[in-house]
Symmetry: C2
Subunit: 207 residues, 2 copies
């Protein structure tokens, strides 16, 4: 992070064994074999049933973030060319209320949504997406929103300043794992807080 630039964060809910999604992801079960309904219900119970208790972390996730970056797999199930209209999993008014840069190999025009979210499609790689997100965010924060595969790419490239992990009480045994293929990192534990359903840990990535 350079002077005057907003930090690059990421929020990720993981199982106790580090997975953000299970095997066999599909449109019907975007989190795959996730120990629950395939929509991450067990992983994400902390911010559904636990919304009140975990308000501080939920607020921190969204409020300071002025631009988001996500992988195409997180955006939706469409592969290859955009031969089918798909505007994300989140309905007409997605919870981002800011520009969202979607990493893809297939060009597509920006897709404005209600509530201030616009999906931009970036075909020239993670550094370009970050540069575009920075330009959009000014000195606001940028969140690498996921999934874990995208976060791992940014971690490996040394481009994430702060990791905010939410560790849910289950293991998945297999799937998409945070830190997979990422060289060893020195972290500073900035804050940690446990509520009844989850353990929140924020790490600063040291360089």
């Amino acid at each position: 992070m350079s002077e005057g630039m907003g930090k690059v964060t990421c929020n990720l809910t993981i199982s106790a064994d580090g997975y953000s999604a299970g095997l066999n992801q599909s449109e019907e079960r975007p989190f795959g074999d996730d120990g629950g309904d395939g929509w991450g219900d067990k992983l994400h119970a902390w911010y559904v049933e636990g919304a009140e208790e975990n308000k501080a972390e939920i607020d921190a996730m969204m409020s300071a973030t002025k631009a988001f970056i996500m992988g195409r797999n997180m955006f939706g199930p469409v592969r290859g060319e955009w031969d089918r209209q798909w505007n994300g999993w989140w309905g007409e008014n997605p919870p981002y209320h800011a520009p969202v840069f979607v990493l893809t190999h297939y060009a597509r025009d920006p897709q404005p949504m209600d509530g201030g979210t616009t999906f931009h499609f970036v075909t020239d790689g993670i550094e370009s997406a970050l540069a575009q997100a920075r330009a959009a965010a000014g000195d606001g924060e940028i969140a690498i929103q996921g999934g874990a595969t995208t976060i791992n790419q940014y971690l490996a490239a040394g481009l994430i300043d702060e990791l905010r992990l939410h560790i849910a009480p289950l293991t998945l045994g297999a799937g998409t794992r945070l830190f997979e293929g990422v060289p060893p990192l020195k972290l500073e534990q900035v804050t940690a807080r446990a509520t009844s359903m989850v353990t929140h840990v924020t790490y600063r990535v040291l360089r």
Copy 2:
């Protein structure tokens, strides 16, 4: 856990990516490529420099435990036959002060040490070791002391009641990983506490 039996616990310090030791373990560097000196200094700083702050967790690790089980790799670097005198890494007065059952394929007579520790060598598998530890512990707790490979075997067999994890602020990227090869587990987060150097999380394993 049945009525009147002490619970089976395990304490393990892991990196944020779930490793309890790095690659390339050796007698000179028993924790291998561990981000530090090969003796787990970075992983275990919380109970060396952080001993005061983490006293509750350190006390809980030892006080209620009446018998320990460990893998041969945790006991020492000798492989194959016991062709060399090796009584553990811990000197004449090991910190266990109780019977310690060491899993091995090679028979050896019990090795009494100072301070109440005796190393017993078990050649007929993890269930036998647990039965012997139970007989020794009465209704006291039994700790599966490690390493992660041994803990994973007990987890996969459904023989651990409580996991006490101590998550250190670094990643190793490779090595011996907790939960590797263990089928998905439902956990209940019993307690969690963060101190300046580590996040402690205790899970009950649900059946």
